[in-house]
Symmetry: C2
Subunit: 188 residues, 2 copies
């Protein structure tokens, strides 16, 4: 499926747009290609875009003062990624987004998302439900961190991204789970 078809299929799971409405919606996205390892958002950047992944894989991550990396999210085909705190609040990025493999995305600016939500009620409906789902996923992840439930986090990861396990180096999976490589190897 091409980029347009992938987005249309994704949107249609949560909302109904006519072909004309979808064409108009789609006209606000720009397609971009990134190479493996390339940075899309870096801590300290101004953030104006969110990214819908067509193919490849992104990671959203944070590096603390001791240079330890924490992975907040992986994003494969049909997932969205950005620094949403910076995007929504017009602040500087506190997390990074880069490419685990060569990646094709469609990007949408903050201003265009708000314009589209205002013009098309069904687009606002789509983005409300997309965020509702993200909110619930973040709360689940938070609970498993509070409870120090590493096995739960591992199962949630395989559940969320069944195709990920073979596509991503093990040290990145450990950084998502917040455990060492040794602990990870005991889990499977």
């Amino acid at each position: 499926m091409d980029a347009k078809g992938t987005l249309k299929d994704h949107i249609s799971k949560l909302t109904v747009l006519s072909d004309e409405e979808f064409d108009y919606f789609f006209s606000h996205f720009q397609q971009q290609s990134f190479k493996k390892g390339q940075a899309i958002i870096t801590q300290g950047d101004t953030v104006n875009y969110e990214y819908f992944v067509i193919s490849g894989c992104l990671k959203t991550f944070f590096v603390n003062d001791d240079l330890k990396m924490f992975i907040l999210q992986f994003a494969m085909s049909t997932w969205w990624a950005s620094d949403y705190n910076a995007l929504y609040n017009h602040g500087k990025a506190t997390v990074n987004v880069d490419c685990i493999s060569d990646t094709e995305v469609l990007c949408l600016s903050n201003a265009d998302r708000e314009k589209l939500c205002k013009e098309l009620h069904q687009v606002e409906h789509f983005f409300r439900w997309r965020t509702n789902r993200g909110y619930v996923a973040a709360q689940k992840r938070l609970l498993s961190f509070m409870n120090n439930d590493v096995k739960g986090r591992y199962e949630e990861l395989l559940n969320l991204y069944p195709e990920l396990y073979n596509a991503v180096p093990k040290h990145l999976i450990a950084a998502y789970l917040g455990v060492s490589r040794e602990t990870l190897s005991r889990l499977h």
Copy 2:
């Protein structure tokens, strides 16, 4: 301010409704009073409502197999609380909501929220931005848990709920931070 005024003031920070639209919106809420210690949602329940706090204080919490309690959220005046995973996905509650003090709420059913969002575009806009903010707050909290940044969590708490510190027993504040009472007492 009465319950209706509190809700109207809250909504008007994110969206614009005419007086007639607001009256219609408000007619879908039911006002309820709960006593200190009373349970509103218990793990295993079916969840049909979300709760907008007028006065008092709620906590959303989880109890693990070792009977250790983790507090996900406090909700004081103008905050919303529910088990959103259960509410949105029509599942059983995995968290509890109860009252830290006598509490007045306005409750809105899942079905009525969806009906109102469909009927009034501005209501959908309000709920999208409410969830956007919740999503960003959950991600920030997740990052501070991953990074084991207790001081950061403590500052975030005082920032989010400046009035909370005197209103809530210290053992509940420790349960929100995910630390012992002893660690908490070293933080301030």
